[in-house]
């Protein structure tokens, strides 16, 4: 870890455990998520990746500590966590299908607005929203209902909503699942464009996508952290290879 990675918007997780009636989906995880990089979170199904993010974003209750900007996320409610500057997407793209792309982004921008202003209708499009539309490339579809978007576009819209919220930390859950190769490329480029000094944590299964875009990788297995490091470090880790059957062969062909 070099000095360029350090900022003040990092997340320090200590001994995070999520217990479902005895079953520990997340078991004593220690993790530091630093600014300014694309941090991939990988692991087999059931490793606890999504549950970890659920606990950090207030969806499920977890014990332990997760400190972001001097706040313990585990003690906060979901919408309070969002207001703190942390956003997430979901495995199934969850945009508001009946509302237009613009309306979706505008709602996301509401986190910056005072409540009493919402009695008014939207005047001109807020700058933040325009910029986000531009970044995610959906300007042409601004007034179309989000429900007609292709799957990839919905994921981009979700990312756009996080941009509009000005989320300093983003958790993206399997963003490229179900996308075509071109869409994956575009998504990767989009993420590289927006990372800036944000922290972006991506839960992923697509090893190729990870190899191309990850700055740092954390591997989880049965609720615990198995290994951490750069793509190369993680790929050459024996334990990781064991857990991912066939990884040895993959490493062999792709080098």
């Amino acid at each position: 870890m070099t000095a360029s990675f350090l900022g003040e918007d990092y997340l320090e997780i200590r001994n995070l455990t999520v217990d479902f009636d005895g079953f520990k989906a997340v078991d004593g995880v220690d993790l530091t998520l630093l600014q300014g990089r694309l941090h991939f979170l990988i692991g087999p199904n059931g490793a606890g990746k999504t549950t970890l993010v659920d606990a950090l974003t207030g969806l499920v209750r977890g014990s332990g500590e997760a400190v972001f900007r001097h706040h313990d996320l585990l003690a906060m409610k979901a919408h309070e966590i969002v207001r703190l500057g942390i956003g997430r997407t979901f495995q199934t793209a969850s945009v508001f299908e009946q509302l237009s792309v613009l309306q979706n982004l505008d709602i996301a921008a509401g986190v910056h607005r005072k409540a009493r202003r919402s009695i008014l209708a939207r005047g001109k499009v807020p700058e933040r929203v325009e910029q986000a539309l531009d970044t995610i490339g959906l300007t042409a579809l601004a007034h179309r209902p989000a429900g007609i978007l292709a799957h990839g576009q919905k994921q981009w819209l979700e990312v756009g909503m996080l941009l509009v919220q000005d989320a300093k930390m983003m958790f993206l859950d399997e963003t490229v699942a179900g996308m075509s190769t071109d869409e994956r490329d575009e998504t990767g480029e989009l993420l590289k464009r927006i990372v800036g000094d944000r922290t972006i944590v991506i839960i992923e299964h697509d090893m190729d996508f990870m190899r191309r875009y990850a700055d740092f990788v954390t591997v989880m297995h049965t609720g615990k952290v198995l290994a951490e490091g750069t793509v190369a470090e993680v790929q050459s880790d024996k334990r990781v290879q064991e857990v991912y059957l066939g990884t040895t062969a993959e490493v062999g062909t792709h080098g």
Binding site: F20, D21, A25, T51, L59
Partner: protein, 294 residues
């Protein structure tokens, strides 16, 4: 001692009827997410079956014994009919189902009124239900004892069916994970129908018990439907033992309140208590904590 035992026992008997009304609701609500506001009318149907049976069979005792299974079948079939014609098209829309069944309940009430008149008809209880039994020096009306035993028997039968029978296993599988059950070859459509039949039939049986206590009446369902739902909600949707406890609690609390204040204040206070309970524990007494967000 009497001041405490009388409302306690009366309340238990009321709770027994609530249980019969609520069992069907908790089954259909828990399994299919369907709210059947016409369940009160299935109680009414059961009551009228008891009345009609008595018109045909003169002996009071025999007529009740015949009425019980008859009410179960008639109410059950009516529920099945409702499921097939109306409810099966609206599974994904629970609030719409609620309103549609409100419409059904209106129709059934009016139909009963047109058929039997608005006054309501008496049902003669057999002589063996007329007396009292002495328990620990307290006089317990046979009628109340009968109602309680009837409800417990129905609950036991339902639990047995769910636990040991083929259909019961299918029902439990569908409640736990509908999609998975379907991939395992369970016809969830059939399961839904059976569930509705069972639940409505139980309400019919409860109606017979009501008829024995206070006769029939086209609107008798309306007095029970809301308390029955509150019981379902308090007990935890789909939880049988929760429904039992909740029915008992609601019955007893209402009986005590009715004793101390008046009947109507009891309703108001019960409502307030339910709201307070729900604000403290919105999921009910018993739930299953799962990994899913559902």
């Amino acid at each position: 001692m009497d001041v405490l035992t009388t409302p306690f026992l009366t309340g238990t008997a009321t709770g027994a009827i609530l249980l019969l009304a609520a069992l069907g609701l908790t089954l259909t609500f828990g399994q299919m997410g369907v709210i059947n506001m016409a369940n009160g009318e299935f109680l009414m149907v059961g009551a009228y079956v008891a009345y009609m049976t008595q018109q045909v069979i003169s002996g009071a005792g025999v007529s009740i014994v015949v009425a019980l299974p008859m009410a179960f079948i008639v109410a059950g079939l009516l529920g099945l009919l409702l499921e097939v014609t109306v409810i099966q098209w609206m599974y994904k829309r629970p609030l719409d189902t609620l309103l549609a069944t409100v419409g059904v309940s209106l129709v059934l009430q009016q139909f009963a009124q047109d058929l039997f008149g608005a006054q309501g008809d008496p049902v003669t209880a057999p002589s063996w239900l007329g007396g009292r039994i002495s328990v620990f020096g307290y006089e317990w009306p046979h009628r109340q004892l009968f109602t309680i035993l009837l409800a417990l028997a129905a609950l036991a039968a339902l639990s047995a069916v769910l636990k040991y029978s083929f259909f019961g296993r299918q029902i439990r599988a569908t409640v736990q994970n509908r999609q998975l059950a379907e991939t395992l070859g369970v016809s969830t459509r059939n399961v839904d129908r059976i569930t509705f039949f069972l639940g409505s039939g139980l309400a019919g049986v409860g109606g017979v018990a009501i008829a024995l206590i206070s006769g029939t009446n086209p609107t008798l369902g309306t007095a029970y439907i809301i308390p029955a739902f509150l019981v379902v909600v308090i007990g935890g949707v789909g939880q049988l033992k929760g429904t039992l406890l909740a029915a008992w609690a609601v019955g007893v609390v209402t009986a005590f309140l009715t004793d101390w204040t008046s009947g109507s204040m009891a309703q108001v206070i019960t409502f307030a208590l339910v709201v307070i309970f729900l604000t403290m524990r919105p999921q009910g007494l018993f739930t299953v904590r799962t990994r899913s967000l559902a």
